[in-house]
């Protein structure tokens, strides 16, 4: 019975507040400087934020797929993709050579102890967000081929 009360209460909260605030967490640049996530999308522009890892095949597929069309996206909407790696020290040294080796043009940041991942409640990667003025306006976890087209439709919708 208690469990039912508990769950009901929980569902009520969820329904009531389905909130959209992008959390404020310190993460790092590739040069080791701290940057607060609040600074990423405060300028009114639309940002795609992708949580990824070097060991996550679907993440790489998604970012590879977007990189093929990224110049077009930027020309058409000015959208910027910020790829935040959740690699920990096991694999973090692979981030820099991989992004260069893959010729990605994204802004890359590091969430080494998964503070942002935790604040976003992301159990798994990839997690793809569209964020505007620190509000999460779209959220999708996982990647299947073609999902980037839906993502871009959402960006187009929001930039009009």
């Amino acid at each position: 019975m208690r469990k039912i009360i508990f769950m009901t209460f929980f569902m009520a909260i969820t329904a009531m507040t389905a909130q959209s605030e992008f959390p404020s967490v310190d993460i790092k640049t590739l040069d080791g400087k701290s940057i607060n996530t609040k600074e990423l999308s405060s300028d009114g522009d639309i940002k795609i934020i992708s949580l990824w890892a070097t060991w996550c095949v679907p993440c790489l597929k998604e970012l590879d797929a977007i990189s093929e069309v990224y110049p077009d996206w930027q020309d058409e909407t000015g959208v910027e993709l910020i790829a935040i790696s959740v690699d920990d020290s096991r694999t973090i040294s692979r981030v820099r050579p991989m992004i260069n080796g893959k010729d990605w043009e994204y802004k890359i940041l590091l969430d080494t102890n998964n503070d942002l991942k935790r604040a976003l409640g992301a159990s798994t990667v990839p997690l793809t967000l569209i964020v505007k003025d620190n509000k999460i306006v779209h959220r999708h976890s996982g990647y299947s081929p073609g999902a980037e087209l839906e993502l871009y439709e959402k960006v187009l919708e929001l930039s009009n």
Binding site: C56, V57, N100, G101, Y143
Partner: protein, 549 residues
């Protein structure tokens, strides 16, 4: 349970009354399984056939203050492969209050933290691995200038729903020297750490109450070059095996990590070297080497490529930092080795580049520290590198192509040699090796409107252990929210020729993700439908729900 309801109620009231300025966020995750007996793989379901791990995380932010809690339930039992001490538990497992402004970041309650690469301290959570090593206490971070920050912490580590017997204190400082001295293109960061564990010796005079560790690090980047070095020394401590002190002597420990890389557009190369000598560090000395990874103060992962295909995940290495001097068969002092990564994308103007050819290659070699052991006197004389027994060697290469907007392929080849002790358990370096070759072909065909079909064909060749394997995956996505899959790993080279089959699907939309699976899990990382997770071996039905809010 009453406590939970009260807290929820308070939090809810607070949230509603303060809704205009504050905001509320959190997440619910439930992973459940129903296990069944399966003579095909010799699996006997435990008494609790239905098992579930549930996590509810609630946070509330109001200006400079954030408060939160995590409620966890392992009812009626924790998923198979998790620490049995969690079975039947349901409680608020962690809670915190955090104050933060531009100069200070102060947390009371449970917190996560990492100093440097985590070689000296890392408190973290990984639900798939059953790790939550949060510390309960106080942590203060001070941002003294924009180029200098200092962290001081004090706490007891979480151990299931209890706390560790040991107390951990630590301090860490980071200085961006390149900025301070105006080096321009040369970026130079320095760091220093101190971690101390206190645990009463219960009147065993030879056992130290306090064990300290000290470390320093430097990271740099200059144009296309970058690198770093980190070194840690740990004071004398007893060595413990299976909860018992294993030697009358005390031993110190050391760790060193060096990383160097170079990258430019289209190409990157990175090399890592690490040496660990008697370097496990637990908040309870008697927890050393426990199989559930509880009460670990530091983080010493295997530095090998993390693979994610079915058959490339069978022979997986884990780091071997411990010192043993118990017998001729079990004498070792740690590990030393390195790995190299190479990434290359062909220019679009070339023939190979036209088909989007990308190459990733990796080589790693890990061995025991070369040392002379005097078992009688319980001393040893190590070399810095030397030529100790090989524990693991791996060469792998992956070639990805995009033939058209509809067809993509990835080919992976791996040649792996692993010590039997490292792969299957038992003493290291004395049981011989397992040598395996693995090939994987991964093909994706896209259709319109997000429909896509993906197929994998895999084969593993080996003369040792369970001999040859073949495997396949078929995955179909109806759109970006819904997909189904079918997989099978067939160990046809072994005597009983088991099939590890699995069928499942996932639905993911906005804040919600739901997945279901029926079949046999061999264990390891499973990546289907766009998400990777660690699954321990079992047969049965499993379901997982994740909701963010």
């Amino acid at each position: 349970m009453k406590k939970v309801s009260t807290l929820l109620f308070l939090l809810g009231t607070f949230m509603v009354s303060a809704q205009e300025q504050g905001y509320f966020y959190g997440e619910l995750e439930t992973n459940a399984q129903y296990l069944q007996d399966d003579s095909g793989i010799g699996f006997e379901a435990p008494d609790d056939k239905l098992r579930a791990n549930s996590y509810l995380q609630l946070n509330y932010n109001y200006g400079k203050i954030t408060a939160g809690l995590q409620y966890e339930a392992y009812l009626p039992s924790a998923l198979l492969g998790y620490d049995p001490m969690l079975n039947g538990g349901n409680k608020i497992a962690t809670y915190y209050v955090n104050y933060r402004d531009e100069k200070f970041d102060i947390t009371a309650g449970y917190f996560y933290e990492q100093f440097g690469s985590g070689l000296i301290l890392r408190a973290w959570e990984d639900r798939q691995l059953g790790i939550n090593s949060a510390l309960r206490g106080i942590r203060t971070k001070a941002y003294i200038t924009k180029d200098l920050d200092v962290t001081v912490l004090y706490g007891e580590q979480r151990n299931g729903f209890d706390l560790s017997e040991g107390v951990v204190q630590g301090a860490d400082a980071n200085l961006n020297l390149g900025e301070v001295l105006g080096f321009g293109e040369l970026n130079l960061n320095l760091g220093a750490s101190f971690v101390s564990r206190y645990q009463t010796n219960n009147n065993l005079p030879d056992v130290p109450n306090t064990v300290n560790a000290y470390g320093g690090r430097m990271d740099f980047s200059y144009r296309n070059f970058y690198g770093g070095i980190e070194a840690i020394a740990k004071d004398n401590d007893v060595i413990v095996n299976e909860g018992n002190i294993a030697s009358p002597q005390l031993f110190d420990g050391t760790a060193m990590l060096v990383n160097l890389g170079w990258s430019q557009r289209g190409m990157g190369i990175n090399a890592t070297f690490r040496r660990l000598e008697n370097f496990s560090f637990y908040s309870d000395r008697y927890a050393e080497g426990n199989i559930y990874n509880q009460q670990m103060i530091n983080y010493i992962p295997a530095l090998t490529k993390q693979q994610d295909y079915l058959l490339t995940n069978i022979y997986v290495y884990s780091s071997q930092p411990r010192l043993f001097m118990s017998s001729e068969a079990e004498k070792r002092a740690g590990e030393v080795g390195s790995q190299v990564d190479f990434f290359y994308t062909f220019d679009r103007k070339t023939t190979l580049g036209k088909y989007g050819t990308r190459i990733a290659a990796n080589f790693s070699y890990w061995a025991g520290i070369d040392a002379d052991f005097d078992l009688e006197g319980q001393v040893y004389d190590p070399k810095f590198i030397g030529s100790g027994p090989r524990y693991y060697q791996d060469f792998n290469i992956e070639i990805k192509n995009r033939w058209s907007s509809l067809w993509q392929t990835a080919i992976t080849y791996q040649n792996v040699t692993i010590d039997k002790g490292a792969a299957l358990g038992g003493p290291l370096g004395t049981q011989g090796d397992i040598k395996a070759n693995i090939a994987v072909l991964d093909v994706t065909r896209r259709f319109t409107k997000g429909k896509a079909l993906r197929a994998e064909v895999q084969h593993l060749w080996t003369e040792q252990d369970r001999k040859n394997w073949a495997a396949g995956v078929l995955e179909y996505n109806f759109n970006s929210t819904f997909g189904i899959y079918l997989t099978d790993s067939y160990n046809y080279g072994s005597d009983d020729k088991p099939h590890y089959y699995s069928v499942g699907g996932s639905y993911s939309k906005g804040n919600t993700r739901f997945s279901m699976n029926y079949g046999r899990q061999r264990g390891g990382l499973l990546c289907v439908g766009g998400v990777c997770r660690y699954v321990p071996e079992n047969t049965g039905l499993s379901a997982s729900l994740m909701v963010n809010f």
